[in-house]
């Protein structure tokens, strides 16, 4: 596609449920990044993939958060046993380069609300 595509656009879940968020990066982009953006704050890094390899997951806030990119294209961010503090916008970005040394292009995000 022409840009980074994320789905769903909005997700409402009850506390304790598991959720899965999808990111479809720009075709041919090697690098894929997940960020979390709380209301009124800048995006915060969660994890980074280079092709199918997860090279940095230092930003994942707990072991309830899990991300994968099994074929080096589409990625899924999964949150288990959701809690209210998980409510945020989850942004996915992709880049042609193998590191951050090229512009990152962001999707429109998934707004997650935990009730």
């Amino acid at each position: 596609g022409a840009g980074v595509s994320q789905s769903p656009r909005y997700k409402v879940a009850k506390r304790g449920q598991d959720v899965a968020l999808r990111c479809d990066p720009i075709s041919g982009h090697v690098s894929l990044f997940w960020y979390q953006q709380a209301l009124g704050q800048g995006p915060e890094f969660l994890t980074y993939f280079q092709n199918e390899a997860q090279l940095d997951k230092s930003g994942l806030p707990s072991d309830r958060f899990f991300a994968e990119r099994p074929e080096g294209s589409v990625s899924t961010l999964k949150i288990q046993r959701t809690q209210q503090e998980d409510s945020a916008v989850y942004l996915c970005a992709s880049s042609f380069a193998r590191t951050t040394n090229q512009p990152q292009h962001f999707g429109d995000g998934t707004r997650l609300s935990i009730l």
């Binding site: 990044f33 960020y35 704050q41 800048g42 995006p43 915060e44 890094f45 980074y48 090279l55 940095d56 230092s58 930003g59 916008v89 942004l91 590191t99 951050t100 040394n101 090229q102 512009p103 990152q104 292009h105 962001f106 429109d108 995000g109 707004r111």
Partner: protein, 109 residues
């Protein structure tokens, strides 16, 4: 780790005015990016600018890496420029962007 600070936090302008947004970073970086987040939440990459000056229409950016700052210039502002402007610097491993808290710009007609 790298820290990124932006100023001012808020800016209110009349349409047609010019403005300068500043981004300071705590360590040497090998890339610096500016983004605009519009009122609908879309985050648009404006500039990838590790050093030097770039211009794109009414916007331009300058990064002085040796002095650890970057500036974003907006000339002849329009209401569509409203939103939040973020700068972001890469971490040393090159695996993540570290964002500042943003400058919220409101342009009124």
């Amino acid at each position: 780790g790298i820290q990124v600070e932006q100023s001012p936090p808020d800016l209110i302008l009349q349409e047609g005015a010019n403005s300068t947004l500043r981004c300071n970073f705590s360590d040497s970086v090998n890339n610096l990016q500016w983004f605009h987040q519009n009122p609908w939440g879309q985050l648009i990459n404006l500039f990838y600018i590790p050093s030097g000056t770039k211009q794109n229409g009414r916007l331009s950016a300058t990064t002085v890496a040796t002095e650890r700052y970057s500036l974003l210039y907006i000339s002849s502002s329009q209401t569509t420029d409203s939103g939040v402007y973020f700068c972001a610097a890469a971490n040393q491993a090159g695996t993540a962007l570290i964002f500042g808290k943003g400058t919220t710009l409101s342009v009124s007609s």
